[in-house]
Subunit: 345 residues, 2 copies
Amino acid sequence: MAQALLTIDLDAIRANWRALDGLTTGETAAVVKADAYGLGVDRVAPALAEAGARTFFVAIAEEGAALRKVLGPGPKICVFGGHMAGDAEMIREAELVPMINSIDQMLRHVEALPGHAFGVQLDSGMNRLGMEAAEWAALRDIAIGQNLVLIMSHLACQDDPNHGMNAYQLQTFRQMTDGIAVPKSLVATGGTLFGRDYHFDMTRPGIGVYGGRPYMDARPVVEVSVPIIQVREVSPGESVGYGNSWVARVPGQIATISAGYADGVLRGIGPKAYVWANETRCKVVGRISMDLIGVDVSAVTSMPDRVELMGQRQSIDTLADAAGTIGYEILTSLGARYARRYTGA
Amino acid sequence: MAQALLTIDLDAIRANWRALDGLTTGETAAVVKADAYGLGVDRVAPALAEAGARTFFVAIAEEGAALRKVLGPGPKICVFGGHMAGDAEMIREAELVPMINSIDQMLRHVEALPGHAFGVQLDSGMNRLGMEAAEWAALRDIAIGQNLVLIMSHLACQDDPNHGMNAYQLQTFRQMTDGIAVPKSLVATGGTLFGRDYHFDMTRPGIGVYGGRPYMDARPVVEVSVPIIQVREVSPGESVGYGNSWVARVPGQIATISAGYADGVLRGIGPKAYVWANETRCKVVGRISMDLIGVDVSAVTSMPDRVELMGQRQSIDTLADAAGTIGYEILTSLGARYARRYTGA
């Protein structure tokens, strides 16, 4: 078997969600957009429901419709992208709660689905999704008079607790919502760690549930184990991989392992990445190919059949740092070629 | 609908394969590993079979078994990763042809499946997969006495016709195979363009079939169209997206579009990428989020519902250049969230 193995620990996912839930007195939702950050919403969402999550967030209505089939009736499914043209039937049939982002969406929603529950997303400074203060001022009384079930916004800098933007957005959100008797939500994982001022009625953790920064107490959720296809000797002067970008300076041993950028090992990660052969850290050498990676195993005394790319010895954040990105992208890039195993089911 | 649309032109795939086939007198195989470079092997492989491809290459036996179900009996399915421990049953049942990479694999294959067709992969200098000269010298007479159907190697620098490595690997491959009356194959798309010396009995194009460099005459295969969720005004000093990394210097309009790095728009692409709103090129602003991208649409006179991320106006290679990667990775990163439409079926 040259197929790499992705193991997803549903126990860890449940434990991380419960731990984050324990930090607040309000409701804790679960963000499961992008196929639960690439980990399989059909397995992850039911595990989170078991743990106690009653509200789930997805990016687009199509994801919401698929999630409704997974979860069945009951849990609330909120759509960050709101109510787009052509979505009404999906929203009605799957009982989705669109987060309305603009006057256009508001008009579309109340016209197509009068009385159908919705939320409102406000822009508190990120300028990404949500109504501006002026739009909201014009619309709030109308919205409150309809079936408005949640008012939310999103922080731009919640990975950095010291960023002044957090307090600015908190203040802006308060100014836009003070005195309105509708449940409110401002933060995802990062802001959940900022304390009570930021929690309002609901927090919406995503990355922390999946074992990533900035939730440093998270249990790791994913392990990726990759088979070694072959091991070869290289002599000084021999190059490895595409473009001859790596050249051996001393005699050594190179293992070719069976994963590549098609499996989410971002091509740009190459020069700074490692894998683990049992207890030995082994440097990636040469360019990452679509399906293959060269690894310097010269220091390995007893050659295993497989190496660890992510897991107990190397976190998604370590790999993300090597690639100059964030753990979120490591997860969503994992791709479809792995054998997937779920533990703690 | 906030779901982005990925359109895959099967006519263009067939045309590209036929054009590459027309450059050689030998057989032209088709490389369909990694789910046909992310484009869906269940649709792409039958289209290529229609065009005339009779030999297909995948990375691992599991991909081969899935492809056999798609293609049915008849076409040859070769596995670059060779014969790994545990693969025998899959290789036998799906009638796969493993490219044997080492003595270990050779022994495993003839022991488990005596008489079953196999190929041999030789290392001509890339030090990635394949037997070294000494291994091959020890094994070649035994291999030739079995059901050896193909001898292949792979060029490390075939994207660059001027690289000295190409001629070196050609010479090495010849030295290792001259006089052996078994079909031979050395090149993928790049080497196919180098002319007859490099063609041997079979070429193995991949990226050229899918519309990417270095096959400059390729017809584009993919189009990605992304809905605009909302458009907002920004004033000088306002920031957009995570980390406040982009700040408006003049009054403008920002569109938030419904795709992100979970859809293969690599996060690192941000500062250099553009999308097209009809005939207007619009700069990506701020960090790329998992599901959303901010775009400066200030110059757009009539706002469309969707923007083009890839297609007639922007190739996979243009996007790859912006991301500091190659078109191959743009394709394999596309992900599962798109609505997929196949034309030319």
